[in-house]
Point group: C3
Chain length 259, copies 3
């Protein structure tokens, strides 16, 4: 049984619509993210027209999340403050039906983090974005297309698996996105930014599969454009923010390598 | 009754003097600021010749503040650690007559933060720098020129209100600064940087009104220069640090749009 | 009695070998570092081909350090969380014979920090990298070549003293590295990055003296290359990451100013 691949044009079209809605609506995206990624994540979201917020304080995070249109939970800094913030944020998101993305950074390197991520993944994230090693730790299975689809079905989350080509699946539909550039692996917080953009797309696109493909396609194409101007990972990190800001639907469509 | 507007040349001249003194004296500026802004704030201050410090530790913050020439209190990360640090820092600043700036980030989004900011504003900040929404939350009034002047008088702080044009007032004098660029709103921590530069100016210019106009004029002109070289918000954030480093008095004076 | 200076070519050769091994092996480097430096440090290490990690969580830091090939302990943020993390990390490093670098940031500004650094320096860091003011506070002595050599001998750590020219000594051998650029003092976390690169070099070069000279030479030469392309400290911070990524052994050798 082979999952149907949505037509390339459908995925690209959804990404174009998401991009345009981000700019038109400027959604609020609340981010619980790691200390290394906070600044870059905020700048990536601002470049796309979003309004990021990052507070972790128990007195106010419920209010911030309740007033946001999407939530990102990134586990890259695994401290008590962020675990408490996550508890409150996911509760608020569930109550207000605010979509959220889980990014289980480095769960392959830490058992306590993997345990925490597994408990979180049972609380209904709309999308889980992660790399192959992280998937293996989270799902206790090799990151084969079949295993990823199975995990998506059982967890009821769309899985966005980053790699040389990205794989997105809700367990039924599968899309492969071949955009991106090797320099993306040489800049910290690039995966975190992909997850943040996916959260932003969820704020304007209720379908999780379309939002996740949009998020990964947008950052992949921006990465390719940035690489054309970059002399190394330093200038690449700058150029990808510019590329996200300048990206237009025609370029996104023309460059999309979706199958 | 109309508040007297200081001559354009006076404001520009004060900014030029502050800029030159920053480079000549290299003042220490202690910053309690949010996790997103810390790196950019330090780089902005270093570009102007200052020596930034950022510690929050209760064991040492009193010493750092006592040895600094100005203090910034930015509420962008509202955690217990920073609230304790703020308590100690403001106490040290008051005792040693060290001038300080309050930046009540996002008080319009969080009641506990607004309450904390109101208590702080009663402790004698020399300058409060904020945007219109934050002013409304802090002062419980629309951000009209009249209301801002009234709040400045009653709080005895100079108010630096950021917006399309910046408004600076001590309740008697009023200056409007029309410099700046739209890209400044697309880079995180730009307002935080404006507050940090204002704190730096207070280290070398005892008059709060002159220091606040100097700070906002310096970052506004640097923003315009940066925008001329930028391809988007990524390169803009880099270029504004270069522009601050390279800014000279003649350019500052020629570009100043003060009324 | 004059310490023997290793031939210039030996130091340059060791740096070339370290650089090539970093790229070939991609060692894991765990960094306890300050909030301001985390992002830049991660990007500098990634540019050289390393895999940085930054967690501070007591539940997992032992695992991260035990799985790393080198450890950096930077005291720039002196909070309870990092002190606990340091305790666990140094314990793990000692048990697993993982080399580590101590960077006692700002110990000249804070007595509690200096006390903590002194206790740490007794636990066997392979390298201590610091500036002259920090050395004076740590060693309670002026930073003369003689005093630095004496401190290196008594502490059994290689000392990497940053300054206009860098001095590296294990108490017997002494090398002076005259590479670098003034803009390095105008970008935050540049010393922290030097320490992180030194830690990375320790991951691939067991000799502490060779690793420390390699680390400081690599960042010094990269700084010179970056300065040639920079318009100020903003673009310099970007260009040095590119330069580290693009640096080749021939350039490193040709540019080395070691005596």
């Amino acid at each position: 049984m082979r999952a149907p691949a949505p037509a390339r044009d459908d995925v690209a079209q959804a990404a174009c619509m998401a991009l345009e809605r981000l700019r038109a609506k400027g959604p609020r995206v609340h981010c619980i993210t790691n200390a290394v990624a906070q600044n870059f994540t905020a700048n990536v979201l601002l470049a796309l027209g979003c309004v990021p917020s990052m507070t972790l304080s128990p007195e106010e995070i419920t209010g911030f999340v309740s007033g946001a249109q999407a939530l990102l939970v990134n586990l890259g800094t695994f401290d008590a403050e962020r675990r408490q913030a996550t508890e409150l944020a996911v509760k608020a998101a569930s109550e207000k039906k605010i979509p959220w993305v889980l990014d289980p950074v480095f769960v392959d390197r830490s058992r306590p983090r993997a345990d925490f991520a597994r408990a979180l993944s049972a609380r209904g994230p709309n999308v889980v974005r992660l790399n192959r090693a992280e998937f293996s730790a989270l799902a206790d299975a090799e990151a084969s297309p079949g295993a990823v689809k199975k995990y998506a079905l059982s967890s009821k989350a769309v899985i966005g698996l980053s790699g040389e080509a990205d794989l997105v699946t809700d367990g039924r539909q599968v899309a492969t996105i071949a955009n991106g550039h090797l320099l993306m692996s040489r800049v910290t917080a690039m995966g975190c930014a992909a997850s943040a953009i996916t959260a932003a797309c969820l704020a304007v696109e209720p379908d999780g599969f379309r939002a996740a493909t949009a998020g990964l396609l947008i950052i992949g194409v921006a990465g390719e454009l940035a690489a054309e101007k970059a002399a190394g990972p330093g200038s690449f990190a700058v150029a990808i923010v510019d590329a996200l800001y300048n990206l237009d639907a025609a370029t996104l469509k023309a460059r999309a390598r979706v199958s």
